[in-house]
Assembly symmetry: C2
Homo-oligomer: 298 residues x 2
Amino acid sequence: MKNILIIGCGLIGSSLLRVIAQKKMCKKIFVYEKSKANILKIKTLKLPCVVTTDFKNVIPKLDMIIFCTPMSEYEKIILKINKYLTSKTIITDVGSSKEISLALIKKKLKKSISWTSSHPIAGSEVSGPEYGDSNLFLGKWCILIKEKNFNKKHLIVLSKFWKKIGSKIVTMDSKKHDAVFSMTSHLPHLIAYNLVKTATDFEKQKKYDLVKFSAGGLRDFSRIAASNEIMWRDIFFNNQKNISKVIDLFIKNLRLFKKDIQSKNNKSIIKKLVDTKKVRKKIIRLKQDINKPDFGRS
Amino acid sequence: MKNILIIGCGLIGSSLLRVIAQKKMCKKIFVYEKSKANILKIKTLKLPCVVTTDFKNVIPKLDMIIFCTPMSEYEKIILKINKYLTSKTIITDVGSSKEISLALIKKKLKKSISWTSSHPIAGSEVSGPEYGDSNLFLGKWCILIKEKNFNKKHLIVLSKFWKKIGSKIVTMDSKKHDAVFSMTSHLPHLIAYNLVKTATDFEKQKKYDLVKFSAGGLRDFSRIAASNEIMWRDIFFNNQKNISKVIDLFIKNLRLFKKDIQSKNNKSIIKKLVDTKKVRKKIIRLKQDINKPDFGRS
């Protein structure tokens, strides 16, 4: 490839920038970034890219465009670049929910242009180009969305692109994607936010100073509850239907748990606690987490 | 001190054993352990202690007894040692909930004997003497329970004991203790167990293979949901009232969260997500967690 444009250069965008540059995967990396603070950071860090707003001249010569902004920014940017797009350019994004955003993209994007959506399962609670890491995608899953009438050529190129970066590829349609990640990612984040919110409410209500005792469990939740708020608002709004369903399932199970505790149902509680341990073992076996007690904190 | 008896030599018991020996805090450490597998591990690891069942001869010469078993074991052991106890021996435990267990202890323990309860806020998802670590308590809180008619002398000695081990001391009554830790520790564990259970149910229901995508959030919960089931059953049963209350508060907040998502209440959602981020900052500032993105996994 000759030219790649990264739109939005935060944690994910700047990690892509770093690994693309490191592996010399194209000749020139363009970056479009609306935050002046981020542009300053990109320059101070001397990230190997050309910051541009010149869509008219840049877009026609691109091999690939990667949207790395929060999903709520897509529409505005599509409307700005639409007229310069040609069908040879591969367009992708790294958004965390797909069905609603792909419907919007289809509606707004100029006919004859394809969009092949990606979702690298990588990230962190920190945001901004200064946290970018060329190894962020190494050994991680990248989901490629394969809908009816997908652009086969683009999917193949994109698949090679993510593999080169170090990711493992799996394809699925947007419907399945949004159901799977409502459970493995969106609900956990929501639960973490909700637990920290509940702890704060409880602290006020009881007038106890309790956050200082958070090492007993709460702190693990607080980490993922520190993730970027714009990104997560967009995910919650876009994947609302699936998330609502898993919230209901979660509340149903929590009520049963409470009932078992209140009735001291030993057999049922022990079964629950033993079964979840098996899931942890599976997660370690599948290399989805490190096998160090307490994440090796000590 | 001359002689200390550790009852139950799992993660906590064997960590205490290691640090007491390392700092030469007494002449002889006795261990009572009912698991044959654990006794074998203690011997293989050459932990510096005398494994004993000879309560008749050992108990009268003890300066301190530390109960490190699951709370459901206390009664049985108290009944075994009761007649050999003298008022000079300091007795403590490291259980994670206090009100119910202290009521039981008071009822079962021979009159004239005091029990001064401790709760070191330290632990891990792993169990067994092989995981013990002499630094486990370093810089961590240890809660000492101070009820009406507490034994002042024992509290002072115990406080020095935990400080020597590296802990920071705070005293509170069992009622406050159980309320605080229902929120900072018991609910987070319950939520983690419940999330993993919900993910398992969802996986079966949808016939999706989703645990392999747990790096997006679920894996963090699975770690604390891998903790010892007997210990956690005991905590859930013993602190049932407080836990039920915080479950209700959690569900109430979760319903509001769902409502905000469904009505796309931007202002309310952003406020929630920003506020929780502040709690994370406080947790880091209070040194209750490490300040490394993603726990420094990569």
